[in-house]
Structure formats: structure tokens, C-alpha cells
Symmetry: C2
Subunit: 546 residues, 2 copies
């Protein structure tokens, strides 16, 4: 027997409709690529987005067609998103930080017909125009005055299209399972793969993140969306802010400490979200200039693990609460947050820190599974490692065009590729990438945990740990250290430094000093390359055992 409630497909055009109808005067403020601070309202954004939709329809864009954006966070970028999604086309966000080869691969793989872009990216597009044959035209998020003489053939200014078309355009009316957005993973192994979000998944992600214990946004918030719209949908902020009518501040291209601080203060921001490096730059700027924060209450930090120094500086020096979050492009991106349970909230700040440093707990709608190599569940004791899998209505079920084959296990969970622990209070902590974890005698050793501690040695500039083949234990840890310029050291200094900080059986079997520890495009240690370099390395313990 079916229920008898209304048929109301969860399509994201309704989010902006809600904002325009019930929060129509609320502002979206942008530091524009052209320079000035620009103010529009949600009502104006819907009107302008509908005009752009008519322009896209005029260019023959059909439901399911991919239309890309290569742009900074701005109100114009939001208009492009809703213009594309409202008519059932797929908004493909391009990450300008990728290499040209990767971008061209992604554009061709997606088959993008149109690219919305900022003035910033015209040199790249001009240089690589011939490498993107599916692209029929470019719409530059600016006006004719700024566009003229740009040299990108056939490029149109979005303001011209907006002026030329009317705002009478019907949005929605399609299935909520329709594709809505496309975002490629950074692809540390193999080619980037596309995650194809649906209207339903984005709408549900919006509702789940709006819970008080998750993002908890309110109409009374002013939100600075530092996290880019090309970085897993700006963690949903360009949906969740209009959904509740929160005032939204878009930083454009400028993410340096001074620019971010200026927006935080002049716009009276209460909430923000970004990766740790942005906050490091902000904190450094504020220390230098003795600046203060008068309105900011909460920041959500994700993308990589939050350093304790950031947590403490925000709390101790500025009275700002940090929420550590974890997710992936494949998870829309929200997976877990370190918002406190009442038991954790009752602890002193110092005692809360271990929980705040973990990636946190899942909200309703996100299921986690922690399993060993045998597929059996690992205990939630805070020390047992397992592969982390995830399930829910906004978690990827497959990649675009079937890349990577079947992603789900027999229970429908997606393997994150991470290794994690979950403690008794339900806090998950990423301990390693599954491919980097060291499997010693049937037990797992976190390469990241050892290298993070080793990197704290005063003589170390960088440290890396990999597993090396061992006849008795399968694998044993090898520590590589790049010393600071002018330093010398012998292995025992590092082993003594680790002693007592890690389990005895985690102790590296050898320490090697190297001139170079290779980093990948995203700044993370390239373990794959290190493993290649040390293939066949004979540990002294292996020699003995053999």
C-alpha cells in the first residue's frame, strides 16, 4: 500500500525558489573578480538565473547536457549553477587548480557543451581551446566592457545574456533522480572520475546538513563560503544558505588572510567553512596585524585533518568554535562532523580536544562500516583499525560512464579507501589511506600516525613511512626522514624520539635519511612514488629473519 502524500520531487530549483519567495531581500555579497564588492539579493539571483536559463535554452541546451563552470565563488557563479540545474542540465564544476592536461581530460570526458568562466581563466582557455572540441561556447561571468579584447573567440558576457533574455522560465518538472551536478575526484591513481549528483541527493544533503548538530545554519547567520564551489559543491553551502535564507558572502579569487579577515569583519560573518590552509593564512595575518574577530562564532574545517594549533588559536585567542568535518567528493561531501555529544560537551576544553581532532560522528542518513580484510566488523573501541565504508542517499553509487566499475559491496556500501577507527563515543578518526596502511602480522599500522610524530622531531623537515616486505611479518614500517638544512642525525635519535609515543610493535624497522620526499599535486606525500623507489629494500630485520 502506497502512502497518499503529495508528489513533490526534491529538485534544487525549489531551494532557490524558496529563498526568492521567503528571503527575497536577503543579500549575497561578492568580492568580484573585477574588484569591487557587489551586492545582490536572492530575489535578484533567481531572476537573473532564469534569464540565463533562457539563454542556455536558446543555445539548444537539453536536459542531461553538461554545462561546466570554471569560476571562483561569486553570486554570478551561483546564478550559473541554478540556471543550468533549473532546466535539467548538469552543472559540471571544474577545479582550476588542476593541471591543464587534467582539465582538458575532464572537459572531454564530461562532453561539456558550454563553459561558464571568470576573466581569470581566459588565458588557460585561449591556450587550450583546441583541446576541448565538445565545447561550443564560453560564457564569461562579467560584462561586455570587461570582456572586450579578451581574445577568446566566441566568448559572451553573462551580463549581456541576462539583459537580452527575460526571466519567464519554468524550472523543474523532472524526476528528482535526474542528474544535477558533476564533479571529478582529484584522482591520485589513474584518471579523475566523475561523481554525478542527482537533484534528490543534493536536496537531501542540504536538509541533513542543516540540522543543528551538523552545519546548523540559520536565517540569522551570515556565512562566508571560502570553500570553493568546485570543491565538492562548496560543502553544500550554495544550497543550504538559500534554503534557510542565510546571508551569503562570496570571496571571489582572494583567499589570503587580509582579504578573508576584511570580509569577516565588514560583513559581520557568523559562520565560515574552509580547508585548514585558509585558516592558517588567516590566523597568521591576524597575529601579525593584531586583528580581532568580533562576530565569527563557528568555522567548519575539512578537506584534511585539523591541526591542534588551529583549534586552540580559534578557541583561546578569538572565541571561535571549530567543527572538524570529513567527507569526499563521493559523499556530496558530508560524511561526519566532530560536533560534541553532551558527554563530550561537559568536558573541559583540553579534554574535548582529542574528540575535536577526530573526524567525528555521522548524522542520520549516513551509515558507516568499519571492516577488516576478512569483511568482519571491527570493534568501535577507538584503537581497532578497519577500512571505512559509507552508505546513504547522497553517497556515490557509481562513477560517470561506469569508470571504476562496481563501487559498492554486497551491502551497498562505498569503500572510502580510508582506514579509520571509531571510538566508544562514536567518533571516527581517519588513520591512514588503505593503500598506505602497513600490514604487519595480520595487524594494521598507521603510516600517517608514525610520520606525523616523527615529523615533530626538531631535526626533521619532512617524514614519510611506508611498509616494506618482510619474510616473517609480511610488512614492516620503514621511516624516511628529510632533515632540515645543515642538520645531521643517526637513526637511533628518531627511534628514541618515537619510543613511548607509539606501540612497541609499530616501531620502524629502519630509518633512512633522504634528500627528497616527493609530494603530489595536492601537497600530500606521494607514497606510491616512494614505494617504487624503495621496491626491494631489504630491512635489517628481514635479513636476520631470512
Amino acid at each position: 500500500m502506497q502512502g497518499l502524500m503529495q508528489d513533490w520531487p526534491l529538485t534544487v530549483d525549489k531551494v532557490l525558489d524558496h529563498a526568492a519567495e521567503w528571503h527575497g531581500e536577503r543579500e549575497v555579497v561578492t568580492r568580484s573578480v573585477e574588484g569591487p564588492i557587489v551586492r545582490v539579493t536572492y530575489g535578484e539571483i533567481r531572476d537573473r538565473a532564469k534569464r540565463l536559463s533562457n539563454a542556455l535554452l536558446g543555445f539548444g541546451i537539453q536536459p542531461g547536457d553538461r554545462v561546466a563552470t570554471l569560476a571562483w565563488n561569486s553570486a554570478r557563479h551561483i546564478e550559473a549553477w541554478y540556471a543550468i540545474m533549473g532546466i535539467g542540465a548538469v552543472c559540471h564544476t571544474l577545479n582550476p587548480r588542476l593541471f591543464a592536461d587534467q582539465l582538458c581530460y575532464i572537459i572531454n570526458h564530461a562532453g561539456d557543451r558550454i563553459i561558464f568562466t571568470d576573466l581569470t581563466f581566459l588565458p588557460f582557455l585561449i591556450e587550450n581551446r583546441a583541446r576541448m572540441p565538445t565545447v561550443e561556447r564560453f560564457i564569461v561571468l562579467t560584462d561586455d566592457d570587461h570582456l572586450k579584447g579578451s581574445g577568446l573567440e566566441g566568448a559572451l558576457a553573462s551580463e549581456t545574456l541576462i539583459a537580452r533574455h527575460d526571466a519567464d522560465c519554468v524550472w523543474g518538472g523532472f524526476d528528482e533522480q535526474a542528474a544535477c551536478g558533476l564533479c571529478y575526484t582529484s584522482g591520485t591513481t589513474g584518471n579523475p572520475k566523475g561523481v554525478l549528483y542527482s537533484h534528490r541527493s543534493n536536496f537531501l544533503h542540504t536538509l541533513v546538513t542543516l540540522q543543528t548538530d551538523v552545519m546548523g545554519l540559520s536565517v540569522k547567520d551570515t556565512v562566508l563560503a571560502v570553500v570553493p564551489m568546485f570543491h565538492a559543491n562548496a560543502w553544500g553551502l550554495t544550497f543550504s544558505c538559500p534554503a534557510v535564507g542565510a546571508k551569503l558572502i562570496m570571496p571571489g579569487a582572494k583567499m589570503d588572510g587580509a582579504s578573508i579577515h576584511e570580509l569577516l569583519e565588514t560583513e559581520k560573518v557568523t559562520f565560515s567553512a574552509a580547508v585548514p590552509t585558509v585558516w592558517q593564512m588567516l590566523l597568521a595575518h591576524m597575529r601579525e596585524t593584531k586583528a580581532t574577530l568580533t562576530t565569527l562564532k563557528r568555522v567548519v574545517i575539512g578537506g584534511s585533518a585539523v591541526p591542534e594549533a588551529i583549534l586552540r588559536a580559534f578557541h583561546d585567542d578569538y572565541g571561535v568554535d571549530v567543527v572538524h568535518a570529513w567527507g569526499m567528493t563521493e559523499t556530496s561531501p558530508l560524511g561526519t562532523l566532530s560536533t560534541p555529544t553532551p558527554e563530550v560537551a561537559a568536558l573541559s576544553f583540553d579534554d574535548q580536544i582529542p574528540y575535536k581532532l577526530k573526524q567525528g560522528r555521522p548524522p542520520v542518513g549516513v551509515q558507516l562500516k568499519l571492516t577488516g580484510d576478512d569483511g568482519a566488523a571491527k570493534p568501535r573501541d577507538g584503537t581497532s583499525f578497519g577500512r571505512l565504508s559509507i552508505r546513504g542517499p547522497f553517497i556515490a553509487g557509481a562513477y560517470f560512464k561506469g569508470d571504476g566499475g562496481n563501487l559498492l559491496d554486497e551491502e551497498g556500501f562505498f569503500d572510502t579507501g580510508d582506514v579509520a577507527t571509531i571510538d566508544q563515543a562514536g567518533y571516527m578518526q581517519i588513520t591512514d589511506r588503505a593503500k598506505d596502511v602497513i600490514k604487519s602480522g595480520g595487524e594494521w599500522i598507521s603510516s600517517i600516525e608514525i610520520e606525523n610524530i616523527a615529523a615533530g622531531h626538531p631535526k626533521a623537515l619532512l617524514a614519510a613511512v611506508i611498509g616494506v616486505a618482510h619474510p616473517k611479518w609480511d610488512e614492516r614500517p620503514l621511516l624516511l626522514v628529510r632533515l632540515r638544512d645543515g642538520e645531521t642525525a643517526e637513526p637511533g635519535e628518531f627511534l628514541r624520539y618515537l619510543d613511548g609515543k607509539i606501540a612497541k610493535w609499530w616501531m620502524p624497522d629502519d630509518v633512512v635519511f633522504v634528500d627528497d620526499i616527493p609530494l603530489g599535486a595536492t601537497g600530500k606525500i606521494d607514497k606510491k612514488l616512494i614505494r617504487q623507489r624503495f621496491e626491494g629494500y631489504l630491512l635489517p630485520t628481514a635479513a636476520k629473519a631470512g
Copy 2:
């Protein structure tokens, strides 16, 4: 093109699964029907509910079968809900405050196969057993000791069934559109009609209500669910509390001021929800006993309009924030809430009151429409009346078994039967029932607004206003007054009292003093009966005009 996210049907069993897995130790505390305060955890509730599911399967309950509950708010009642819904059966909540005839009609109309009930209701069930032939058995939410000698043939104690069955039961696995709950409207005209909720509608209602600006519940909240589970799903609390892991307090049968106050204080309640009469009883008790409230922060009040005295008493005397909410059985029930926009929040408390007295603003997922008799939209100016229609994924599309025919207009909106205004700030206010509004010269007059003011006259005990036929204006208002015992008055006293408080053209054309103003079962003025009594009444102005 379809999105490629996971298939994860929104079924409510996942809500309790989430609570058991991530908030397994959080308590649900009940003032039991047997007397003592009883504590169980979400983990135990899931375990016990699964045992009950196996009992229901053993009784041959199939997906879509209706299983009723006639019970007070308790953990056992929650167990029955999830036991029923988890296996795809339909949980039909019966309102014990209805007359026996109505209850029997509803049980037969629904075709309930089993009724879960409390000891309280055994006399009613014994007396009316023969009138509910579809009911095969009764499960009493108690143990054998309390049940024995009850005299209800074939009744079983839930505790016996829980002890007899194991907890290994697979929930879910059906379509999210599957029917999940059934609740009949009180039916002021004609027979009660059934609203058939789906798993999807309840799940989405849960997510929408959990937003910070709506119910805003947190794992850190302790929630006293005074609003009954048979009253439009306890406004969703028995879904939303487990969804976030909030501690839940269930008052059982005792809703008097002293009992409610005791639970608020001993359990350190932070949030509660109930109709105005419950709060009136609590406030009266606290005034008498000079009691205080040490932990309560917020109360949501709905079911009927919030009197200003309650708002002020909570704010001024106890520091508790009141949120006025509006909804219907047909809206799951959330429609609007008076949570403040930043502009309203910036006002003094006195200046906020007019907004807090309104029914408020809709969250994302609820669409409102205000239309005149011609179907055209009314302006949102705070004074123009229109019929209020509503649309969304948790709004009724049809009644059970097709009762009442097609409910939706050509745009898919459900007509609430209410007349309302919406002001420039988006706050909706119910001004009348559509059938009671007085249509004078093409304009609408609120009968409720006039009678509320007239009832404030010191000589008035009750006042009612109806529209009476008029040859020139179609209808004109007639004011009926029941004076306080021993008072006498003449019409001019009431007209002078109204003068300046309402528009000139709203002034009643006549005032009639009556011995009796009839009230319906829910305590509201029975306008239908009054209109029958005054059919053909000749207004003095009509005599002149004619």
C-alpha cells in the same frame, strides 16, 4: 540522464537504527501508566521493537495491514510504532479523546487488525469490542501481572510478546512511498478522514523539522513530548528525537501542571511541545506553587493560536522562548513557525510580540498560496485575506480510500480550509476558517477577530460572530454575546467597545444576547449550529436596504 548516487529509500526504520547505533545509550524516560518512572535506551527500544515486529509477523501481519495504537506517550508506544512501521505495516494512531462512535467508525474504516493499547483504555475496548469486527486481537502495553483479570478477551501483554520473540528481524527493504502511518482528522464536518503518511513523507518531515530555525533539536537537548503521539505524530518528535539522539521524556497519561513541572525539573528538560491548554495548566500550577524552571529553554506551541499571556509569562517570568507553530494532520503536521528573522530578532520583545502571535513562516519544503475567490494571489501585505493552500512532500494528496475526492487544485496545492494573511516579513496569520469568514461586498471580514475582541468586553462570557444574508452586501456580521451571569447590557455598549478596534465596515450590523453559545467536541465555537439557529435572521440594515 539519471544521477548516479546510491539507492537509499527514506524509510523510518533507519531513524531508529541510527539512534540505536550512534546514540544507543541515550535514554527515553516514561511516566508509565502503571505509575513508576521507567528508563530505557534507544538501543533497548530497537531491540524490543524488533521482538514486537516478530510477534506481529507471527500474527500474520503483512505489509500494508493497519495496526492501531490507542495509547499515551510512552517508550512502549514508540516500540509499537517502530515494530509496526519497520515491517511495512501501517501504524494507525487512535485519539482516545474522540467519542466512542467516532473511534469505532475509524477502526472499522481503517480495517485495523490489531490494536496496541494502554490499561487505561480497556473499559472502552471491552464495552465496544463487538463494534470492531476487523480487530483480531489486542496487545496491551504492560506485563502479565498488570494485565491479568482485565476482562478483555484475547488480550496479550506486550512484555510477554517481547520476552517470547527474538530481536533478529530485518526491517525496511520496501519502497519509500510505502504507507507508514494513518491518522484521522477530527472531522468537524462529515466523518473523520484518514491521512495516510508514507515512509518518505515522515522521513522528510523529520529532516525539515530538525533545521535550526524550525524545531532545531540537538543531541544535547532533553525533550518532553507532551503533544500526544495520536495528535499528528507528536509533531514528529518520536522521529526527530531519535534522529538526532535527543533524550526523550514521555509523560504518559498525566498532563496536569504538577506532573509536567516535575518531569521538566527532575529530567532537566530543555525543549517541549504542546497545545496552549497544557501550558496554561503548567503556568497556573507554577504561579500557585511559586515554582521555577531551571533548564527549559524553548517550547513550541501549536494546535490553536497562542494567547499573548502565555508568551509573556514564559518570557518574563521563566526566561523561556515560545515558538508558535501551525499545522494540520494533513501537513504531517508542520506548516509554519514563528521563529524570528534577523529583522524581527533585532526588535524589543514587546515589538516582537505581534510576530510571535502569528503562525509564522514556512521552512524549505513547504509552499504556501494565498488566494481570493477568483483564484488570484492575494498581496502579502499583512491585511489582505485569502484562502490558505499548501504544497510539499509531507502534505496530504488524498484521503484514505479516496474520501473527500480530489483534494488538490490544478497547481497541486491542498486547501487548508483556513483564511489567512501573510505580511511583508513573510509571517502568516490564520484569521478565520474559510467557511466562517464573512463575505461583505466582495471583501472578507474575519469572524474570529471580531469575536476575540468582543469577548474582551468585561460583561462578556463568550462571543460569536457569523455572517447573515444581506440583500445589498451579500453577508454582514452578526455578533452574539453570552453575558456573564447576572450582567445585563444593550447592543450599543458592544458596538462602542469595538469602535476603533476594527475597521468601520467590519462593525456588526446587529448584536444579539443569547443564553448559550454552542461548543463542538474540541472546545471550539460550533458556528455551523449557530448558523442553523440563525438561518433567515433579518438584520435591521437588511430590512432598510430591502
